[in-house]
């Protein structure tokens, strides 16, 4: 300790840096892979249906050209290459916390069904991502409700109107509306990515995605 007073300020700072550097050898700076979740908050938001968007809502967002959210496909690259919802980006499930997604981004996750997306949702919520949602029931529901909507048997006028609107949306996304379902009928071919060129975007009445509404004139 007697040496220290003899050192210049620069030399003392050098010694300090060396000491801190030597101690840093033992530093564990690996980013934390554990998450803390607020169980009550998560469960409440699930119960209030604040954790997801429906396929119809998502379809309306895409048609409107909304750019205030990121649509994230969490399946593997191969599945993504085969088909993905237009405007989606691919962030495979195992890598969702690796930095591709921002914590303040509005994120809509989807997988084949609803489970993987919900698991990723849980982890991201726990990591402090504030605006994460899942696509309700995932790609399966997207196919059933948006790409290949089914005309109910003996529909009421209201159901018919709803189906016509859905058919328009389906064509926009390169899908195909189906007549009254024959259960177990052969699977429909998924549209290619350059889906339905030249199909004009359907005009959606305001709030079309939020539920059945009366059909408007000239729609």
């Amino acid at each position: 300790m007697r040496v220290l007073p003899k050192l210049t300020l620069n030399q003392r700072l050098g010694v300090l840096a060396l000491a801190l550097g030597a101690l840093a050898v033992f530093a564990n700076v690996a980013p934390g892979h554990t998450v803390t979740v607020n169980a009550k908050e998560l469960l409440t938001s699930v119960a209030r249906a604040e954790d997801h968007v429906t396929p119809a809502e998502l379809a309306a967002w895409i048609i409107e050209g909304r750019a205030d959210y990121r649509l994230v496909d969490i399946r593997n690259e191969k599945a993504f290459a085969e088909y993905h919802i237009p405007t989606a980006e691919n962030v495979p499930l195992a890598t969702v916390t690796d930095g591709a997604l921002g914590r303040t981004d509005r994120i809509v996750l989807y997988g084949d069904g609803g489970i993987h997306a919900a698991q990723a949702w849980m982890v991201l919520k726990g990591k402090g991502y504030t605006q994460v949602y899942t696509l309700l029931e995932g790609l399966d529901a997207w196919k059933d409700e948006v790409l290949f909507p089914v005309m109910p048997q003996s529909p009421t006028p209201e159901e018919k109107a709803r189906f016509e609107r859905a058919a328009q949306v389906a064509k926009f996304f390169g899908g195909q509306p189906r007549a009254a379902a024959a259960p177990g009928s052969e699977p429909m071919a998924l549209p290619t990515q350059a889906a339905a060129p030249g199909v004009a975007p359907p005009t959606l009445p305001a709030g079309a995605a939020t539920g059945p509404k009366k059909k408007r004139e000239g729609c």
């Binding site: 801190l20 840093a24 050898v25 530093a27 690996a30 930095g99 303040t104």
Partner: protein, 203 residues
Amino acid sequence: MSAPFYKLGAFGDEASLIVAFLIGIGFGFFLERAGFGSARKLVSQFYLNDLAVFKVMFTAIVTAMLGVTYLSWAGFLDLSLVYLVPTYWVAQVVGGLLLGVGFVVGGYCPGTSVAATATGKIDGLVFVLGFAAGTLGFALAFPLVKGLYTAGDIGTKTLPQVLGIPYGIIVFAVVLMAVGGFMGATWVEKKMAGRAVPAKATE
């Protein structure tokens, strides 16, 4: 984990510009306090009789590195969220050489030229106009140099990843390098004192 503040949503896009502005002012202030508002001081680096640039920059690197290491060790900073510039090694070698030539010829680097301009140095102002013109020229010529711009792309890499050495050991090695460098620089300065001094202009 409470940092990085911006990534964790402590403030938004607009506020981040104000924060960046304040940090920039602080950066300029310390450049000027270190004497880097003078081209003569900066260029002395290349005559080896005043290695202040090397010492100041390396001190800043070591300080920031130790700060980041300890904040992250203490669980305050999530290092995985800190933005890393991707490595395009060919582009960066060419760019680094160009910057070095510009530094020797012009007497400034981009940051110090702005600091010099702020203190009323005409050569600093000319340098700023030069790099603004260069930036514009680059933007216009971009289709021609696009290949070079991304040449040598190896993605985002850190030394611990590339060398397969634990993070803490790299930190210690950089500190050793810095302290060794400072001692060596001081020795070189003494050796070179009074030799090859850039011509003193009347100022």
